[in-house]
Amino acid sequence: MRTAYTLLLLALVTAPLARGDPLQAEFLLLPSAQAAGTFDREAPVTQVQDELLQADMLLTLQKGRFKFFAEYLVSDHESDLERLQLGWQLTNDTIIWVGRYHQPSSVWNHDHHHGQYLQTSVTRPDIDEWEDLGGILPQHFTGMLIESGHPAFGSWRLRTAIAGGIAPQLQADGLEPFDLLHPNFDRHTMGYQARASLHPSDFSESGFGLLVADDQLPWAGEPQTPAQVGLDHVDLRLIGAFGTYAGEKWNLQATLYHADARLHYTTSLVNDDFDVWYLQAERRLPHKLTAFGRWEDSFGTGDSQYLKLFTEFARIRYTAGLRWDFVSRQALTLQFENTHTLNGSFDAVRLQWSAAFF
C-alpha cells in the first residue's frame, strides 16, 4: 500500500514535467525568532506559542500550466511538510490543486499560512491556530482544492475556493492531520470547505465573504479525559462571515465563526454549538511602524463539549502591539496579550524578529 501510494505520488509529480515548457523555480525563506514570557498566570495551561525559532520554506516549480508547490516548516517544536500541492492552471483565474493544503475556510491561514513575516501580529487568532499548537479547528487536509476568480458586478471580483479532502483525526492531545511523509491510513474521514468573497477590484485586498465547512473528525486515540471516553467521531459544521478593509493607512480584518458540532459517542449523541469572532485593526504609522490590536471573543464556549476534547482554548483574548519594518523585508514586533482561557487567565509579552528572503 505504501509503495503504491509513493509511486502514485511520484507519477503525479513527474508526469506534467515531461512537457516541453521551460521549468521555472522559486524559493522563499521566511525565518523568525521570538522571545516570549507570561505573567499574572492564573491558568493551569498558558498558551505560549512554543515555536520560538522557525524557518518556513516554500518551493515552487512551474512548467507550463503545471505547478508543484511545497511548504516545509522547521522549528524548535517540529519539522513538518505543511503543504504539498500539485496544481494545474486551468485558466488565468482558476487553478486546481491536489495534495495537502490549508483548508480555505480559515481566511487568516489562507492569507498568511505559516510564514511569520507576512502577518503583522506575532500570533494568530486562537480559532485559527494550527492543530499541533492546540488548534481546535482542522486546518490541514489532503485532497483537492480549487481556487478561482470571476468578474462580478462590473469591476468587482468574486473569489472562490472549494476543497475536499482527508480530515485530521481526533486524538487525546488534539487534532492530527494526515501526514504525507508518514501516512497513516487508519480511520480517516473526509471534510469539505468553501469560501467566497467579493472584492472591489482584481488587486484589492479589501472585501467580504462567507465561509462554510463540513468536516467529519474520527476519534483515533486513547481517551484521557471524560469527554473523550466513548467518542467515535465528531461532525463539525462551520459557517462564517468575514470582511477585510485594506486602506492606505488602516487595515481591518474580522471573521465570525459559528461552529455546530455533533459528538457521536458509542451510546449517545451530544449536540454542541458555539460562536467565535475576532477583529484586528492595523494602523500604518510614519517611520515604517505599524500599530495593531486584536480582539478575540466567543459565545457558548464555556460549556462546550467539543472544546473539552482539547487542552485549552482562548475564549477571550486582547492583543496589542507594534511592528517596525526596520529594513527591507525584516521586521521587529513587540506584542502584549491578555488571554482568558476556559480555566483561567494569563498575560504574555512577545518580541519577534521576522524576515523574508528570496
Partner: protein, 496 residues
C-alpha cells in the same frame, strides 16, 4: 582640570560624551533617512496607485461619453486628496480640471519623491480609447508630505538630543555610583597611610567587582594590621628581654668583679694572716715576758691590740672572699637577730641620731647563718650612722613579708628587712658602685669600703637580694629580701 579628566568619573563621563558625540549624529542621520524613505514610500505608493486607478476608470468610460464625462471625472479626482493638477491630452486638445491649482507643467513627470523643486509630483498615464490613446496627466502636491517629513525630522532631532541629554545625565549619575566606592577606598587608604589602621576598607557597592575588590583589600588590611601588631608585640618582648638580659649581664659582671676582687682580697688576706700570725704570736710572747706596768708592756699591748684588729679585718676580708658560704645554715626568724644587732648599734649611736624601730613583726622564717644576718644589720646601721653623724637624723628599721616574681615567673614569698636613714643620700653614679669592695666615699682611714660589699655577699649567699633607693639630700633606704625557708628545713629550726 587634568585631575578631573584623569579621574574615574571624568573618564566615564568622557566616554559617554564621546559615544554621544559620535552616536547622536549617526542616529539623527539614520533615523532621518528612515523617516524620509518611509514618508516618500507612502507618498509614491499612494499617488501611483491613485493615478493608476484614475487611468483605469477613465479607460472604463464609454467612448461616446468620454468627451463629456472626462471633465467631470477629472474634477472629481482633483477635489480629493493630494491631486492639484489633472489634465487629459488628446492630441492637441486638452481637458483640464477646473480645480487644478497649478499651471500646466512644462517638464516631464517625476519618478522620485521631491525630484523637482516645484513641490509637485507629476504622473502621466496612457489611457486607451477605441482607436487611439490619450494621456492622463496628474499632479500631486508634495507639500504636506514635505511638511510631515520636516516635522518628523524635528521630532527625531528632539528625540536624539533628549536621548543625548538623558544619557549624559544618566552617565553623570552612573559615574557617581561607580566612582563612589573607589573614592571611599581612596579616602580610607589615605587614613590608613596616616596610621589609622583600624579604618575599614569594606565598601557596599552594587558593582560586584568593586564589592569583591573592597572585600579583598579589607582582608589584606586585617592581615597586615594583625601582622603589625604581632611584630610590635614581639619587638616589645624583645626589648624587655634585652633589658633583662642586659641587667642580668650587668649583675653577672658585677658578681664576677666582686668575685674576682674577693678572690684577690682573700688571697691577700690569707697571706696577710700568715704575716699577722707571727706578729701577734711573738708580740704576745713578748708581752708575757715583759713587766705588765712598764712602758714596753704598754707598747706591746698596743701592738697586740692592733694585730687583733688587723686579724679581725683580715677575717672579714676572708669572709667576703668565701662569698659568705654559710657553714652554719639553719632556719630562723629575723626579729630576734635584728633585736640583738640593734642593741649593739644603740651603744655606738650618738644622741643626734634617732633610732626608730617599727614594731618588729615576726617574719616568715629564712634559711642561713643568723650571725651573718647580725653582721648585715650592723653594717647597714653603721653605713647609716656615717651618713648622718654630722647632721644627725633618723634611723628606721622595719621587718615584714613581701611577694615578688621569682626566677620561674611564679610569685614567691620573701622576708623583708628595711633600713632607712635621713642622711645626705647618694648620687646615682655612687649608687652604682656602693656594693663594690673597697669602694667608699669616706675619708682615708674612716672605712675599709668592705661593709656594704660584705652585706651584698651575705644576702646573695642566702639566696636573697638587696635594693637601694636614694637621692642626694633625701637619705637612703636599703631593702633586703630573703627567701622564705622551704618546708623541709624547719627540722633544723632554731629560733634564737
Amino acid at each position: 582640570m587634568e585631575r578631573v579628566i584623569n579621574s574615574l568619573r571624568g573618564r566615564l563621563l568622557a566616554v559617554v560624551l564621546l559615544i554621544n558625540a559620535a552616536l547622536a549624529p549617526l542616529l539623527y542621520l539614520g533615523l532621518s533617512r528612515i523617516v524620509e524613505e518611509g514618508y516618500a514610500d507612502l507618498f509614491v505608493n499612494s499617488v501611483r496607485s491613485y493615478s493608476r486607478m484614475v487611468a483605469d476608470q477613465l479607460e472604463a468610460v464609454p467612448s461616446q461619453d468620454f468627451a463629456a464625462r472626462s471633465q467631470d471625472v477629472l474634477d472629481d479626482f482633483a477635489v480629493s486628496g493630494l491631486v492639484v493638477f489633472a489634465q487629459i491630452e488628446d492630441g492637441t486638445k486638452r481637458v483640464r480640471s477646473a480645480v487644478s491649482q497649478l499651471p500646466a507643467p512644462g517638464r516631464g513627470e517625476d519618478f522620485h519623491f521631491h525630484e523637482h523643486s516645484d513641490q509637485a509630483y507629476y504622473i502621466s498615464h496612457s489611457v486607451k480609447r477605441d482607436d487611439h490613446e490619450v494621456v492622463l496627466r496628474l499632479g500631486f502636491d508634495e507639500t504636506p508630505t514635505l511638511e510631515q517629513i520636516a516635522a518628523a525630522k524635528r521630532r527625531v532631532l528632539a528625540a536624539v538630543l533628549a536621548f543625548a541629554l538623558v544619557s549624559t545625565v544618566l552617565a553623570i549619575a552612573l559615574s557617581r555610583v561607580i566612582a563612589r566606592p573607589v573614592v571611599r577606598l581612596r579616602e580610607a587608604a589615605k587614613r590608613i597611610a596616616r596610621g589609622e589602621v583600624s579604618t575599614e576598607l569594606l565598601q557596599h557597592s552594587s558593582i560586584a567587582e568593586m564589592r569583591e575588590l573592597s572585600h579583598h583589600l579589607e582582608h589584606m588590611r586585617r592581615e597586615l594590621v594583625g601582622t603589625s601588631e604581632r611584630l610590635q608585640s614581639e619587638i616589645r618582648e624583645r626589648e624587655a628581654s634585652e633589658g633583662k638580659r642586659l641587667e642580668l649581664e650587668r649583675r653577672l659582671q658585677h658578681r664576677e668583679r666582686i668575685a674576682t676582687i674577693g678572690t684577690l682580697a682573700g688571697g691577700m688576706a690569707h697571706e696577710f694572716n700568715n704575716i699577722m700570725t707571727p706578729i701577734l704570736l711573738y708580740s704576745q710572747l713578748a708581752l708575757n715576758g715583759t713587766a705588765q706596768n712598764g712602758a714596753l708592756a704598754s707598747d706591746l699591748k698596743r701592738i697586740v691590740a692592733a694585730a687583733h684588729r688587723a686579724r679581725s679585718l683580715v677575717n672579714r676580708i676572708l669572709t667576703f672572699s668565701r662569698e659568705m658560704d654559710s657553714q652554719e645554715a639553719r632556719v630562723f626568724t629575723l626579729a630576734p637577730t635584728v633585736a640583738e644587732a640593734l642593741a649593739l648599734v644603740r651603744a655606738i649611736m650618738p644622741a643626734n641620731i634617732e633610732i626608730v624601730v617599727d614594731p618588729l613583726e615576726d617574719t616568715p622564717p629564712v634559711s642561713g647563718d643568723p650571725g651573718q644576718l647580725h653582721q648585715v644589720v650592723v653594717n647597714l646601721c653603721l653605713n647609716a650612722y656615717h651618713a648622718m653623724r654630722v647632721a644627725g637624723g633618723r634611723l628606721t628599721l622595719r621587718l615584714g613579708a613581701a611577694e615578688h616574681a621569682g626566677k620561674g615567673g611564679a610569685r614567691e614569698r620573701y622576708a623583708m628587712l628595711q633600713v632607712a636613714d635621713t642622711g645626705h643620700g647618694m648620687e646615682p653614679a655612687v649608687m652604682q658602685h656602693i656594693f663594690d669592695p673597697f669602694f667608699t666615699t669616706r675619708e682615708v682611714g674612716e672605712g675599709t669600703g668592705l661593709g656594704l660589699s660584705v652585706v651584698h655577699g651575705i644576702v646573695t649567699s642566702m639566696g636573697g637580694s638587696i635594693q637601694v633607693e636614694s637621692a642626694p639630700g633625701r637619705g637612703a633606704r636599703f631593702t633586703v629580701l630573703l627567701p622564705v625557708a622551704t618546708a623541709l628545713e624547719p627540722a633544723a629550726t632554731d629560733v634564737a
